[in-house]
Symmetry: C2
Subunit: 618 residues, 2 copies
């Protein structure tokens, strides 16, 4: 088509509200139009890109025996009540009432719909395995949409659901889908996307991989090993800490530590390395307000995903009396105020180990300090006794000796504490974040790297969470009724487009790969107001169309600067330039968007030259 | 693919709750799964059909210079407040609040989004005309979804919006789109779809065509002329009535008509043809409860769409005291009870012509009956005086003489009333439904036919309704700011699939055309448990795949009856049958779904024979 007909404006200036490059380029290039927070319309340029992405995904899903279906966007609440998610999922699930007063919701994922569609079909083992997928609009009422298409509230997603009679069959299919995802990311131009193990979150289930494009603008944090193939999302990354060996025979001693505000200050005041300290981070359970204290080595941070999985319920950083969130502050040095006694807020809980839900990993009931108060800023595991408190000890403290920790008394710490000797036989949990330079849980080398990345795909093993709750079962070979196990597999189409743009752009615009470029070639007629030039370019346009080459033709009477700047924003992989100088020699210039190609060809051979290049780069 | 992998069950029995054939066949054939009232999931068979329909639509939209975009499903109310539709559209617009308390809605049409997307782009005349379209999910909270995919609450729709600087340009483009629609309906297999003029409803604007597939299961009523090309939706069809000429010199006389319950009974009692009577139909305005009386010839019915367009506000049939809707009953013979005085319900309205909104076409203020009461069942235009009443007279009464009509007094009618002489110079309005055998407003012949049909597409000229209200304007050649005019063009994808099924099926299943069939061929291996037969069929399957013929392969060990019944439900245009008898002669049988072809071909020539047939029928 002709560029002057293309709906959408292009700008030179970077919009002030765009923090990341793909967002800025998609606004500047006339790809997206802001409609509301996290909601965009797509202009034709973007729609051409997303349609190509959708087609690649479709081909790869079909290649692993997927069958395309379509689930509703608007679903009755009754369906999600079957799985329990109508109530368990929070406000990111948009709910509404229809005209007859029925509770409805907008699909943010379709496990329930997939089970609903197939539970009559899948009544006998002979029908298994099968996989259904859709490419459809979803709405997830994100608290913080950001980065243009990187995180939106409404988005197009390919979501696939596979059903199996055995875990082994799911495992095998899961790896087939893993392969399909690798092919998809390679085909759309980001072969560097890596798979990392991840947490399965509200989806439930056991195994889960995220496909991550490493990028400083990503909102996911991933942990990779420089020495082996270990890769995990920070949320799921195991944290291994080796404490320096020591005899642990130092005496426990209470010391006065007035005015120390942070764990670093405490350690500096005492002349100790931070790795020789124990800090406390305090949370409260949402349901009961009961306090949860996590002890971990002073240099580590709590991984709240792991904590949530352990607790199995919602929680929040505890709010101190002056309204500072305790969880964000090294509790051993929190600045002010006493946390009210946990037993008072949480009701009459008889013992430290009896708080609702999770079994506390440790409760130091011997040698307890009198009073039963949590002394914020000075909480330590030694001689701690507070009724109703859940105390969790991270394994970064295992084998730790000669530690400093809060003395459960304002302005005092202990030093010389050795965990095993002084805190008894406690259960150590993996609750800390892996850290840069940390020990790899697979190979044991201290080679962990922490990077940012964009999640471009996610595959889950769901097990029987949905089939069991929704009553889907099949008769097996022996006549027994069993629940099938499921996998689910998602890719956000718009986010993938943005991720490719993020990975492949320069300051002037996206550098689309042939596979998903809005057009393969961008024909520029420089000096289109000169009839001779215009006719020459028109002929080349006709030639490219006749040869079925995707081409956008710029024959506007604008400067070469404007023309090339627009072409950069549209990002077609090859540009064909017709200019007075070229016309004189019967040639045109072919330049690749990534600057690796810059050749002159005889005008008559433009199409064949382009075809050869397109074949080579696709 | 192989049929035994196809997700979805097929049944022999017609489901009891399916009233129309396409609904029953789509349930029986494993096309759709009911999720909630008017909400379905699509199984793979249907998704293959709808994807082909979508592709045909896309090609035809691109061919008329359409550019594909994507609008959001969930839109902020603010956008619809700009056009006024957030409040003017009723409960079919689904509204919800997001997590931050913002009013949101689910798109049922996207005029606002189209203006929003393009109003910066379209600031100068040089950018015009342009058309953008999308294929996207919509939600319309219909009061009465019905007939499977014929009328759903959630549906996939192609909606297109064109923008023009002049009405003439819109007219020209509108006809291009009309042509594209004709091509679309021809390509998907229903060339018999007809275009009828229609009412533009809540879309606003001037011209409007509906594309209708005539079908007894349709919920639209269309009026066509057997003598000329006149075609209109009943909602928009002009009603022309020719009253028999007469002197009109009969005396008006009040007669006692006790116990006459219907207009037919009144006329029978008086020995008059119904065409010589005048009846009253009573409505109430929703906003004020004020009464509206429509007088029309006794054999005619009120066209409520025309009435609504005239009134310009919402109304309902008046409810009599015994709760029978007056509008549904010939008011001249309504059974019981007096309608309360209009002036009492509607508040203090000083004169008959002063009721809110519409200008009454007539108000008989002279020779009024005393009391000012509407005597339900006996209302007539002669000597009627009721303060606050809107009186509308349909043109079926123009030139009528010697009529009987209610005497505005219980159990009495007048006879011998002549409209012109006795009711004065009233404005006659077109408020009646066209009727079978009625006079064609175009050619004048009494050749009107009234039929049922399914609306498969709708094209509107919107004028500047949206561009004006939403502040979209462009600078014209002379430097003046003007509002562009718009057209909009919709096709429901699922409904179109259902309509094609409705038009092309037999008792055994759909007879899909090649263009949108889920597969082109259905390979049946009868006696697949015989290795020799199975190998023969496998070879043909491989041959068809190698030749890129779309094929679904049934190699299940089931009876030929089950196999053929399933094939009928899937409806592929060609069936290839491998059976022991055919194998003996090295042949297979090719049978078309519509029974017009039944040939044997040498096995090796199956693909080439099919290709020739597919080419011929596409």
């Amino acid at each position: 088509m002709k560029l002057d007909m293309l709906v959408g404006d292009r700008f030179r200036e970077r919009p002030a509200d765009c923090v990341i490059d793909s967002h800025a380029l998609m606004v500047r290039g006339g790809y997206i139009k802001y409609v509301a927070n996290g909601i965009y319309s797509s202009y034709p340029v973007l729609r051409r890109v997303t349609r190509k992405i959708e087609q690649i995904i479709r081909e790869e899903m079909d290649a692993i025996d997927g069958q395309e279906v379509l689930f509703p966007v608007a679903m009755p609440a009754a369906l999600w009540r079957e799985s329990g998610r109508y109530t368990s999922v929070g406000r990111e699930l948009a709910r509404f009432g229809d005209r007859n007063g029925n509770d409805m919701l907008l699909g943010m994922t379709h496990e329930e719909a997939a089970v609903h569609l197939t539970r009559e079909y899948g009544q006998t083992y002979a029908k298994y395995p099968f996989m259904v997928y859709q490419i459809q609009t979803k709405f997830r009422d994100e608290l913080r949409p950001r980065g243009g298409l990187i995180r939106t509230r409404e988005f197009t997603m390919k979501d696939a659901y596979s059903f199996h009679t055995t875990k082994e069959d799911l495992d095998a299919y899961y790896m087939r889908c893993y392969g399909a995802y690798e092919r998809i990311f390679t085909r759309v131009g980001i072969p560097q996307a890596i798979a990392v193990t991840s947490d399965s979150g509200m989806m439930g289930g056991s195994a889960s991989y995220e496909f991550i494009l490493l990028s400083s603008v990503g909102e996911d944090t991933v942990v990779t090993c420089g020495n082996c193939e270990y890769r995990a999302n920070m949320e799921a990354a195991e944290c291994v800490v080796r404490n320096a060996p020591g005899a642990g025979d130092t005496q426990v001693k209470k010391v006065h530590t007035p005015g120390t505000k942070t764990i670093d200050e405490v350690c500096a005041y005492l002349g100790l390395p931070v790795t020789q300290s124990c800090k406390a981070v305090i949370y409260q359970k949402n349901a009961t307000d009961a306090y949860v204290v996590v002890f971990l080595r002073g240099d580590m941070e709590v991984n709240e995903t792991k904590l949530g999985n352990f607790l199995g319920e919602e929680f929040r950083p505890a709010i101190l009396e002056d309204n500072e969130p305790a969880g964000a502050i090294p509790a051993a040095s929190a600045s002010a105020g006493a946390v009210p006694a946990a037993s008072a807020s949480a009701g009459a809980v008889p013992a430290a180990s009896a708080s609702a839900g999770a079994t506390p990993a440790a409760s130091a009931s011997a040698d307890a300090v009198p009073g039963g108060m949590l002394t914020a800023g000075f909480i330590g595991p030694y001689r701690l006794f507070t009724p109703g408190l859940t105390v969790l000890i991270d394994r970064s403290l295992k084998d730790a000796v000669n530690l400093c920790c809060g003395a459960n008394e304002k302005d005092f710490h202990y030093i010389g504490v050795s965990m095993e000797r002084d805190c008894g036989d406690v259960q150590y949990l993996d609750l800390a974040k892996a850290a840069e330079g940390g020990v790899c849980p697979r190979c044991g080398a201290p080679s962990l790297r922490v990077s940012r990345g964009v999640e471009v795909g996610h595959i889950f093993q769901l097990g029987d969470k949905y089939t069991k709750s929704m009553g889907m079962s099949f008769m097996d070979e022996h006549g027994n009724l069993r629940h099938p196990v499921m996998g689910c597999y998602g890719i956000g189409v718009g986010r993938l487009a943005a991720a490719v743009c993020e990975a492949r752009h320069d300051e002037y615009g996206p550098v689309w790969p042939v596979s998903i470029a809005p057009w393969h070639t961008h024909l520029c007629c420089v000096r289109a107001n000169d009839d001779r030039i215009k006719t020459f370019a028109d002929d080349i346009y006709a030639q490219l169309l006749a040869e079925h080459i995707e081409v956008i033709y710029d024959d506007r009477a604008v400067s070469a600067g404007v023309m090339f700047s627009d072409a950069d924003l549209i990002g077609a992989p090859y540009r064909v330039i017709v200019s007075p100088r070229n016309v004189d020699s019967g040639c045109c210039e072919i330049v690749s968007r990534d600057k690796t190609v810059n050749i002159k060809v005889n005008a008559a051979e433009t199409a064949s030259a382009l075809k050869a290049m397109l074949r080579a780069s696709d």
